[in-house]
């Protein structure tokens, strides 16, 4: 008998009782290591479990992101929750159901093929048997490893999966209940704010404690561990007011200024780098009959800019540290905290509580570490740290600035025969699980070494993500220059390098099409043999009423772009329509996506819509500003984002969502194509191309002057 291959996350968490339990009659607990970050994963996981267990969703209690309770699934990131976490949960639930039916058949003499489950009750030939999950729970031992042998349901048998399900977490947010970590209150809790090191390695020269106390309208306490400085008090208003003026009363040594000209990305081209080529070596001499073309595209640093600053709670009691966090990875954070505090990981519990949408590695882990460090030194007292808005903007890791050159040798017909995507970028991943990188840890005595800059393996890549076009070019390569030293801390943001790589590839595709006098849609389809890719391009062209040959330079434009996220997740094609006078007004966006089997179609559409608007904000508005002190864009005026009156009409359609094909991650699929489609639409409207993001009024004006 063949041993089936378990999905990776079930192989690493094989014990079935880690996934499913039947604690009391009528109740099912289902555990997932995935956490809710606004993407609707709780609802989708509930649908998967309800479907495979044949239990109504309202009977299931979902446990999520808790080192005491749930499987270790690493980070909730990379559009992998359903594609990998959901698949593991589905198989675990199917196996649990099968074990109960096997037991019912063996112990009570039923014919196994004629057993089924109806809302937790076991039926035989459609009739109730009087047995259910709960009556048999003591006889079926789930403390065993999954085998992967029992089949999961066929798509034709689905009644919960594939249907729109309302978000389980939305009501609390609409009626004003306690929904977020920011709303947590623990008995005897103190509020804390950290006075941040202005730069890594800065050392406290002096603290004017008298001035801080004078600024306080109530009792406060000043705590210091090395260069980690915090203000504590029972009254949050008092603590917040002192924190606002605290930087004026603390002097630092060793604050190296940064070069504010590194705000724009082209400085990357002059930096030492760690270089790597993926794909065939470049041809030593040009292919006869071809022309070599190259164009360069850039992007500034981008902030996560979550709608609220990060928050963390911690309590150290009886030798155990409990930490509440909206981090994307409770297990990696636990390990990083253990290292920071020199504690055994087994003495730390990390529990996820929802926060504002993060879109990647923002300040959440750091805020949790702040709370943990303070609480560790004050046994018994629960500590809540809520970052200040300017702290989140100024100290969260940001997505690195990038430069990408797309170059191609094109034949006489204008079609690429040899393609290179060349990338200059800082690191896209520095999450704390990988080796430190918690601000609090860096401020403590004996800080951990600066984690080395690394680029993840390709595929899926980090800076190299989506750098290989899916098009049928005879030769394709990626040349990657990883810049280890960046002026500010950088890490993962939704899409990682895919955003600029797709912008560059899809802009260059349009530039090549224009040079060859071809329509952008027809040009793409002529080099796209992947049937699912063709389908989304054709679908979006149809629903947007795409017309070839519309004149450019009229002030009104349309653009198309396509990518398959990571070249292994969902396919998405986007058409954008813009009106441009002095600035860009986004009129309408259409998107067609193929995400394989879709668990909750409305949830997936919501994610794609969100990715489109997020992408539009990146394309038109967002860029981190720098001065000699670091990040200077520390409020919503200096870091503008897309507002309600700037949002376009958005139409999203899923291509073949009820399919036996595997689920493909959808959360990050729309961003790159949206940014690129907007870029192409603006070029069409202006008759001149902007290659540096964001596409601000100043850049539009400069392009018009050049043209």
């Amino acid at each position: 008998m063949n041993t089936p291959t378990l999905p990776p996350l079930l192989a690493s968490n094989p014990r079935l009782d880690r996934w499913v339990g039947f604690p009391a009659p009528g109740r099912v607990t289902v555990s997932t290591g995935r956490v809710e970050i606004g993407q609707g994963v709780l609802t989708a996981m509930l649908q998967i479990a309800a479907e495979e267990l044949d239990v109504a969703p309202e009977h299931i209690l979902l446990q999520t992101g808790d080192t005491d309770l749930t499987p270790n699934e690493g980070y909730t990131a990379g559009s992998q929750s359903i594609q990998f976490g959901g698949v593991a949960l589905r198989m675990a639930c199917a196996e649990v159901r099968a074990l109960f039916l096997d037991h019912a058949a063996a112990s009570h003499g039923y014919s196994r093929p004629e057993l089924a489950v109806r809302d937790g009750a076991i039926t035989h030939r459609g009739e109730a048997t009087g047995h259910d999950y709960w009556s048999l729970a003591s006889a079926v031992d789930l403390r065993r490893d999954a085998t992967g042998r029992p089949p999961t349901k066929s798509v034709h048998d689905y009644s919960v999966v594939g249907r729109n399900a309302p978000r389980v977490d939305l009501a609390a947010k609409v009626f004003g209940g306690q929904a977020f970590i920011h709303d947590m209150v623990l008995d005897g809790m103190v509020h804390a704010r950290v006075v941040r090191q202005p730069r890594r390695g800065a050392v406290i020269a002096s603290v004017d404690e008298a001035a801080l106390h004078r600024a306080a309208k109530g009792p406060i306490e000043i705590v210091r561990h090395g260069d980690f400085l915090a203000i504590l008090g029972a009254d949050e208003t008092v603590v917040e007011a002192v924190a606002a003026v605290a930087p004026n009363h603390v002097a630092w040594d060793g604050v190296d200024p940064i070069n504010p000209f590194q705000e724009e990305a082209r400085w990357l081209l002059q930096q030492p780098s760690i270089d790597r080529t993926i794909g065939p070596p470049p041809p030593s001499e040009p292919t006869p009959g071809t022309t070599r073309l190259a164009t360069t595209y850039t992007r500034m640093h981008i902030a996560h800019a979550s709608v609220a600053p990060s928050c963390g709670l911690a309590q150290y009691r009886g030798g155990r540290l409990t930490v509440w966090t909206h981090s994307q990875g409770v297990y990696p954070l636990r390990d990083a905290l253990a290292r920071t505090l020199k504690l055994d990981p087994a003495a730390i519990s990390v529990k996820h509580v929802q926060g504002p949408g993060c879109y990647g590695h923002n300040g959440a882990d750091d805020a949790a570490a702040d709370a943990a460090v303070i609480a560790f030194h004050r046994p018994g007292t629960p500590v809540k740290v809520r970052w200040r808005r300017e702290e989140e903007f100024g100290f969260e890791p940001v997505s690195p600035a990038m430069v990408v050159t797309a170059q191609a040798a094109v034949d006489a017909a204008g079609s690429p025969v040899d393609w290179t995507t060349e990338i200059w970028s800082g690191r896209h991943s520095s999450r704390p699980g990988g080796g430190g990188n918690l601000l609090a840890a860096e401020a403590l005595p004996d800080p951990p070494p600066h984690p080395p800059a690394v680029e993840g393996g390709y595929p899926p890549g980090a800076g190299t993500r989506n750098a290989e076009p899916l098009y049928d070019f005879p030769a394709k390569r990626i040349v990657h220059h990883l810049i280890a030293e960046t002026p500010v801390r950088t890490s993962s943001l939704r899409g990682l390098g895919a955003t600029l790589n797709v912008f560059a590839i899809e802009s260059f595709m349009d530039e090549l099409a224009e040079r060859a006098g071809r329509d952008p849609v027809a040009c793409r389809l002529s080099v796209l043999s992947d049937a699912r890719a063709r389908a989304v391009v054709e679908h979006v062209a149809r629903i947007s009423g795409w017309q070839a040959g519309l004149p450019s330079g009229t002030g009104h434009g349309r653009g198309i772009a396509f990518a398959r996220y990571k070249n292994m997740a969902a396919y998405a094609a986007v058409v954008a329509e813009v009106a441009v006078d002095e600035s860009v007004r986004l009129v309408r966006v259409w998107c067609a996506a193929d995400a394989g089997l879709v668990i909750n179609p409305d949830g997936a559409i919501n994610q794609l819509e969100g990715g489109i608007i997020h992408g539009a904000s990146w394309a038109l508005k967002e860029g981190v500003r720098l001065d000699t002190g670091g990040i200077s864009s520390r409020d919503w005026e200096s870091y503008p984002v897309l507002r309600f009156s700037e949002v376009p009409e958005v139409t999203v359609e899923l291509v073949d969502p009820m399919t036996d094909r595997p689920c493909l991650g959808v959360g990050e699929a729309a961003g790159g194509p949206t940014v690129a489609a907007i870029g192409n639409a603006v070029a069409h409207a202006l008759g001149a191309r902007l290659r540096d993001l964001p596409l601000t009024r100043e850049r539009v004006m400069a392009a018009l002057l050049r043209a």
Binding site: I37, G38, Q39, G40, P166, R167, D169, L170, A171, A172, K173, V174, F175, G176, G177, Q178, A179, F180, H182, D183, V185, K217, D235, E236, T237, E240, A305, S306, V307, A308, P309, Q354, G355, P356, G357, Y359, R386, R388, R389, D602, N606, Q607, E609, G610, G611, I612, I613, H614, S617, D635, W636, E637, V641, L642, R643, F644, S645, V647, E649, V650
Partner: protein, 159 residues
């Protein structure tokens, strides 16, 4: 410290706090009304929006002394799960939200709009919500939900 009377969601309350205390802190930390959110503390994002005598105001920048005796409405005063306000019903119907952190402020801004304009255009709704930041990109659903709520209200769901 001083005693300040307020009417919060229809209830007369007296809070004892420093006159400079932001209304947001009064609501969350003194009255335990956690539905109103901290977003920026700089009156730039709208997460902390409440109605003060019917007008939408950012509570993070409103000192307690400036709202003495005034009528405050927070998200908790809009409706309940059993008796949802048409706006709350519409946001659930349209699944208008992702992380949801911005929603209570947006619902309050929308309430103020519909109170003064029962049939707003899409552009008028967008303009009324321009002081509210949403970062998940739920804008299109939110705009649709406010239109839907306006319809519900006009059809007799007013309360």
């Amino acid at each position: 410290m001083q005693s300040t009377p307020l009417i919060v969601n229809g209830n007369a309350v007296t809070v004892t706090a420093d006159a400079d205390t932001p209304l947001l802190d009064i609501l969350r930390n003194h009255l335990g009304l956690m539905g109103t959110k901290f977003g920026c503390g700089q009156e730039q994002c709208g997460c902390c929006m409440v109605l003060v005598d019917g007008r939408p105001e950012k509570s993070c920048g409103k000192a307690l002394s400036t709202v003495a005796g005034k009528v405050i409405t927070t998200i908790e005063g809009l409706g309940t799960q059993d008796r949802p306000h048409p706006l709350q019903q519409a946001f659930l119907d349209e699944q208008a939200g992702q992380c949801g952190y911005c929603l209570s402020g947006i619902l309050i801004s929308a309430k103020a709009l519909l109170d003064r304009n029962p049939a707003p255009s899409r552009a008028e709704i967008a303009e009324a919500l321009d002081d509210n930041i949403c970062r998940c990109g739920s804008h299109v659903r939110i705009l649709r939900a406010v239109e839907h709520a306006a319809r519900l209200l006009r059809e007799g769901g007013a309360r």
